[in-house]
């Protein structure tokens, strides 16, 4: 870790909930120095700990989940049983301590537990609370449960993925949840900034569905402007031609695009077919699109003779936009991502050394880090409750006797 104080040092964050949409926010803040406490219970740990692979050595266990680890590095874990009144009392005490609460329970659950914003803000008027759920806290379908993997269909992304003559395609995992978590991180920080300036807290209601639509903004705008309803078009683009993914010798693919006739001339030269740019059937983008089958065959014949890496390097040297279609394994060996230290290995008490993913940005003067591995369930009860929250020995014992930490 850098010797410079991290940018969010001193920011105290408390998370209720689990899976992706809430915890990913707290992870990013923790990477820049926020002290983020992930609250769960031994009875009901974060669903990502137990429900989805991968598990270390393929053996499931609360502290063996790669899925949980990926979104919870650099945090502290405490266990509080919110079904017990004493557990709720402890949670309320923690809410007085923190600056920011992130929760992704179903709408109404926090209120029913006595942990709604108005109740907590009475004791901590500077509190910022971000509630994130599928549909938002209000509206006729606010109570609808749902998974992010399916919500990506409702938000229009699946309709626009795939080839025109085929069905829509899945996006991996709860794609839309990460749009919401990133936009949510900005909203949460904006709340913190105002709270620090004015002493005024904030309640942020984040709908994962609406956040996803932000990424569909241009398509929606086009519909509003002229009624156009776009459909999936494989890898085609309305401007660039060629524009697509081409198979390579090493069974990988290379993505490339030409945004002007000059780009195409450069590509043609790079693949040893410099005369192509002068042929009427390839001279303009519309002509290249109309003759895409013939053009794709020429490009594929060239890419098929070399690796995706070699193809991308040759095309970039010619000034043409190109990159291998990087596989999940390829992410770990990609030279650019390695130079950025995109994946950082940390030692986990049960999983040993394994890699954590860094956010897509960094600060030059106050860089962030993967501050530590993901916590084992309840690993930080002692430190958090005694040292941070300031429970006395008697209080701590009383909570333990009431089974609050179970």
């Amino acid at each position: 870790m850098s010797a410079v104080a991290q940018a969010l040092a001193g920011l105290k964050v408390l998370e209720f909930g689990g899976y992706a949409a809430g915890p990913h926010i707290g992870k990013v803040l923790a990477n820049f120095g926020a002290r983020t406490i992930h609250m769960e219970s031994k009875e009901r740990p974060d669903g990502f700990r137990i429900q989805y692979p991968p598990f270390k050595d393929d053996r499931p266990g609360y502290n063996r989940s790669g899925c949980f680890a990926f979104f919870n590095d650099s945090k502290y874990s405490v266990t509080v049983d919110l079904k017990k009144p004493a557990g709720v009392a402890l949670a309320r005490r923690m809410a007085q301590w923190c600056d920011l609460i992130i929760e992704n329970m179903r709408p109404g659950v926090m209120e029913r537990l006595g942990l709604g914003f108005s109740a907590l803000a009475e004791r901590n008027p500077r509190l910022v609370m971000l509630s994130t759920c599928n549909m938002g806290q209000t509206g006729p379908r606010s109570d609808q449960p749902g998974f992010g993997s399916q919500l990506s269909a409702l938000a229009g992304m699946c309709e626009l993925t795939g080839v025109p003559e085929g069905p829509p395609m899945l996006l991996y995992g709860p794609y839309i949840d990460y749009i919401a978590s990133l936009l949510g991180a900005s909203a949460a920080l904006a709340g913190v900034i105002r709270s620090r300036q004015t002493g005024e807290g904030a309640l942020i209601d984040l709908s994962q569905y609406e956040c996803g639509l932000v990424f569909m903004g241009a398509a929606l705008q086009e519909f509003f402007a002229g009624g156009r309803v776009p459909s999936r078009c494989g890898n085609d683009d309305p401007v660039a031609a060629p524009h697509g993914a081409f198979p390579c010798h090493d069974r990988q693919w290379v993505a490339l695009s030409c945004w002007s006739d000059d780009d195409f001339a450069a590509l043609a030269r790079a693949i040893g077919e410099g005369n192509l740019a002068g042929e009427p059937r390839f001279a303009t983008a519309p002509a290249r699109r109309a003759n895409s089958r013939a053009l794709d065959a020429v490009i594929s014949a060239w890419t098929g003779q070399r690796s995706a890496e070699a193809a991308a390097i040759a095309l970039q040297a010619a000034g043409v936009a190109a990159y291998p279609v990087v596989s999940m394994a390829g992410l770990f060996s990609d030279p650019q991502l390695r130079a950025r230290r995109q994946f950082r290995v940390r030692r986990h008490p049960e999983m040993g050394d394994h890699a954590y993913c860094y956010p897509g940005f960094d600060l030059a003067e106050a860089p962030g880090d993967i501050v530590g591995p993901a916590p084992c369930v309840g690993a930080d009860n002692d430190f958090v409750f005694r040292d941070l929250i300031g429970l006395s020995e008697a209080e701590y014992d009383s909570y333990r006797q009431h089974g609050v930490f179970d």
């Binding site: 309709e159 991996y172 932000v214 993914a245 991502l337």
Partner: protein, 392 residues
């Protein structure tokens, strides 16, 4: 507004437009630099530059550059997509950091500012490829595909907005700005969920998801995800667990009430049914009658009745479906700007019970007197002292 009083200079191209839009939606005053006569009519431009004001900069004209400098002296954040220039004016991130010590400079580039490929060219398709997203979309044995609507610019802009605010928190505490380096390639990795962890922990390479859910049955059965319906497709999966059980029970009840053929569904006790133990013949037997039932439904019927029955699953929506969704209507998601009927996606979050209104029509001019410490942006600040301008 959460970011009232924060002044942002936005000198980005398409790669960075969303960052300024996100910050504007949170209340920041975002001034976008544009050359005179630039095209502001395209839907894409309007979608991501609404809620900003435009300052036309003509570096050839007298005072053009000094207006940028004056604005930067009062600004808190400057958003850039180097080496893109504003009408021939290059705003260099390092020079800005040197000249304006309190300024948070956010440089958004395809591959970031450091590393062996930092100068490589890329558009959306190369970024979705470089960040791993295309490796996970398309038929498992077929061509990798991108989402037809560009997404990588969104991933980059969303990360850039966070980076800007992380650095602003520190600036407010220490008085020092920072240089935020955003890589669109690295930003796209957020779209992959936990897929990279399979490689790291197990040496297993996740591949393209296609249209079926695989890997859930120990007998290798695959489950249908996309079902043709009367006016498109429905996304529905036979899940296990409590939520899956309720959904499956409700679907069968709905089919029974509709007089639909139940076939292999009729005999299933959902309390004991386990999707991890079903083989393909079993899955085919339960999916066949459902396919027939869904083929009769419209997307909206599935959405409405599915909600009433608390079922998991959603229609595969088009933008037209989304534009008329009652849930979005009730929450006032789509908004207009005063004086025009043009609709936009509104601010992405509801703050203290209210969605912050869109304040500026796309292309609205930043027409106040040349900005200065005492100018319009400063007077709007609740804590002028904390954000006072400075002399570079």
């Amino acid at each position: 507004m959460l970011l009232s009083g924060v002044l942002i200079v936005d000198a980005t191209d398409r790669l960075g437009w969303l960052a300024g839009r996100v910050l504007a939606d949170l209340g920041a005053d975002v001034v976008k630099l544009e050359p005179p006569g630039s095209d502001r009519s395209r839907a894409e431009w309007r979608a991501f530059n609404v809620n900003k004001r435009i300052l036309e900069i003509d570096p050839q004209a007298a005072g053009g550059l000094s207006r940028i400098e004056e604005l930067l002296r009062a600004a808190d954040i400057c958003l850039l997509t180097p080496p893109a220039s504003i009408a021939g004016t290059r705003l260099d991130p390092l020079a800005l950091r040197r000249d304006y010590p309190r300024l948070v400079v956010v440089a958004i580039r395809p591959f970031g500012g450091l590393g062996p490929r930092s100068t490589w060219r890329a558009s959306d398709i190369e970024l979705m490829a470089a960040g791993g997203a295309m490796a996970l979309a398309g038929e498992p044995d077929g061509m990798p595909v991108r989402v037809s609507e560009p997404q990588s610019y969104g991933w980059a802009g969303a990360h850039a907005a966070i980076g800007a605010l992380v650095a602003l928190v520190r600036r407010d505490a220490t008085g020092r700005g920072d240089l935020v380096d955003v890589s669109a390639q690295a930003s796209v990795i957020a779209a992959l969920s936990h897929a990279p962890a399979f490689v790291d922990l197990l040496g297993v390479e996740p591949t393209r998801a296609g249209t079926f859910m695989t890997g859930r049955s120990i007998k290798g059965a695959r489950y249908r995800v996309f079902w043709p319906c009367r006016d498109g497709y429905i996304n529905f999966i036979f899940y296990g667990g409590a939520a899956g059980r309720r959904t499956n029970e409700q679907l069968v009840a709905w089919m029974r009430q509709s007089g639909a053929e139940l076939g292999g569904l009729a005999a299933i006790d959902w309390k004991s049914w386990d999707p991890t133990k079903a083989d393909q013949a079993e899955v085919d037997a339960i999916e066949a009658p459902v396919a027939k039932f869904f083929a009769r439904l419209t997307k909206r019927e599935f959405l409405t009745e599915g909600h009433r029955r608390e079922m998991l699953g959603y229609p595969v929506a088009t933008v037209a479906d989304i534009a008329s969704d009652p849930q979005l209507e009730a929450r006032g998601f789509f908004q207009t700007v005063a004086g025009s009927a043009e609709r936009f996606c509104g601010s992405f979050a509801v703050i203290d019970g209210e969605r912050p209104p869109l304040r500026h029509h796309p292309g609205a001019k930043f027409s106040a007197a040349p900005p200065s410490v005492a100018g319009p942006s400063a007077t709007a600040r609740p804590c002028a002292g904390a954000r006072g301008g400075e002399k570079p």
